[in-house]
Amino acid sequence: MLIVCMSSALHRKNLAAAGPEQFTAEFVKKQIDEFEVGKRHLANMMGEDPENFSQEDIDRSIAYLFPSGLFEKKARPLMKHPDEIFPKQRAVQWGADGRPFHFLFYTGKQSYYFLMHELYGKLLNVEKHQDRLRAKGLFSSDANSMSLGMSRWFTKEELEVSLVETISTHDYTHFVQLMERLLSMPYCSLEQQFILQYRRQLEAQSMHQIVQPLQQDEKGVAYSSAEGLRKTSRSSVVLRDCGSGRVTVNGQDCHHYFSVLQDREQLMFPLQFMGVLGRFDLKCTVSGGGRSSQAGALRLAISRALLSFLSEKEGEAMRQAGLLTPDPRVRERKKPGQEGARRKYTWKKR
């Protein structure tokens, strides 16, 4: 929603020296109002409910109304909330008389030093509390230490976003060290809320697994299908229950297609790992790549299809065995000035 007009007056200014473009708070607020109004217009245009028009609906409508064949996703037409487009900036830090509001303004990194100052204050607070308890004789070294659960500290980027200013890696390490020191004290649960503010919950990787739905054919036999890839091979597998362990690859028996024992071992790997060797019938199709990469693609497809027959714990075991990760290793390109991907031409002194 931003109209940019270039005039000759702008060309005379030193644009590079001005730094990143500064947007005032009123400007961003105006953009937000325009965005809300435009969202409702868009919903009306698409014939949908203006009240429940979500960001995905907006993206869908824009892609429909302004189809673009550009490869770079960031160059395509986009309509997002202005908070996501305009970077967060600090309001003016000093008053009409020129005096800064914050007492640490002249350090240059006022939010960061203020945070460290607060953190140290909390540390001293906890120590004082411990001393008081020690004086009363009620101190115990393993009393109510905080349960953090599965969480991690903010990363440097996240800390920068929350402080709205840049910090160096040294500053970040210092911050983490001080937090760890606070955590190491037995009575740190006093400052639990403050600490949790700077921790982010980690979610288990198993949540990211997509399990193929289990289908049933006319006779009631359960089957599931999945696809796999490795290097340039693409495969698809139909895993049928109540079978006898027969494997068909591209219409041929697997012993005909894969004459090498290693490839057949790779096919059977997921089934052997789960101990269901004789239970399933496999019907596989594979194309592209060489002998080993086709076997790898089939292995991934079989593991994915097997997920729908297994419980979550077994699926997690398969993931930890490395069966469910698509192998990202591909052939490295040859570089100019070298004979191959890594091999250089013979070095001649003259």
């Binding site: 991690r152 760890e180 198993s206 290693q262 069966l323 990202p328």
Partner: protein
């Protein structure tokens, strides 16, 4: 838990996908450092919670949170799969001919078994128990016997380079033992003997602590002992 977390690289969300680095570094892998190695053996997943030590429990928890690399095409969870043997096969392989390397290994083990069984049947009652017939056991024991304890490193000091005795990591020792075995069998044989024949002879000799590879190991140890005086040149 926190020590693992502290080691994490700066941006986490970007790390959860396989890494495509636009800058080509000298030694890099297609996986980003966040990924963990896969554990293929079935027994590791059957152990109940009570049997685990605190480090094992921490590792288990870490594994649920981190993405895992894909298992390579040479490993399976089958009982016939041995990581040491796989490593040896890869080292024997030339020009990418895995099929040939595997064949050689298979024939070697068969040959060892044949020879040992022959010896078993020829032996008298008391000696029969001492003869080891399992070729895998023989292979492992022979490799153990070939592993050097200390190695030599060339360190330059004051314009001259000295051979300084240094401790070796387990991986390095295993690598040296395998490399010596393979070079020995490739070079010091009659041109009509096949690789698997020579390899089985060397392995059986190493099992009895004889043979050229064991000799080479002893020579290395003697050199290290001789250069004992320069051991303080090592600074790591």
């Amino acid at each position: 838990m926190d020590t693992h977390v502290l080691k994490m690289a700066a941006s986490v969300s970007g790390l959860l996908k396989p890494w495509t680095s636009r800058v080509v570094l000298v030694r890099w892998s297609r996986y980003n450092p966040y990924y963990l190695e896969p554990e293929v053996r079935k027994e590791a997943y059957n152990r109940p919670e009570t049997e685990l030590s605190p480090e094992d429990q921490e590792e288990r928890q870490l594994k649920t949170l981190r993405p895992i690399k894909a298992a390579t095409s040479g490993v399976t969870s089958s009982v016939f799969d041995d990581p040491v043997i796989s490593k040896f096969i890869n080292m024997m392989m030339r020009q990418g001919k895995k099929v040939l390397a595997r064949e050689i290994m298979l024939q070697t083990l068969e040959n060892i078994k044949k020879k040992q069984v022959e010896r078993y049947h020829k032996a008298t009652g008391g000696q029969k128990e001492e003869i080891e017939c399992n070729p895998y056991e023989i292979f492992h024991q022979a490799l153990e016997n070939c592993k050097p304890v200390v190695g030599l490193a060339s360190i330059q000091k004051g314009g001259k380079s000295y051979q300084v005795p240094i401790p070796l990591t387990d991986n390095r020792r295993r690598f040296l033992a395998m490399k010596w075995m393979i070079t020995e069998c490739k070079e010091n044989k009659h041109r009509r003997t096949l690789m698997y024949e020579k390899l089985s002879q060397e392995l059986l000799a190493a099992f009895q602590k004889e043979g050229n590879v064991i000799k080479k190991k002893h020579e290395l140890h003697k050199m290290a002992e001789a250069n004992r005086a320069y051991a303080h040149y090592r600074w790591w």
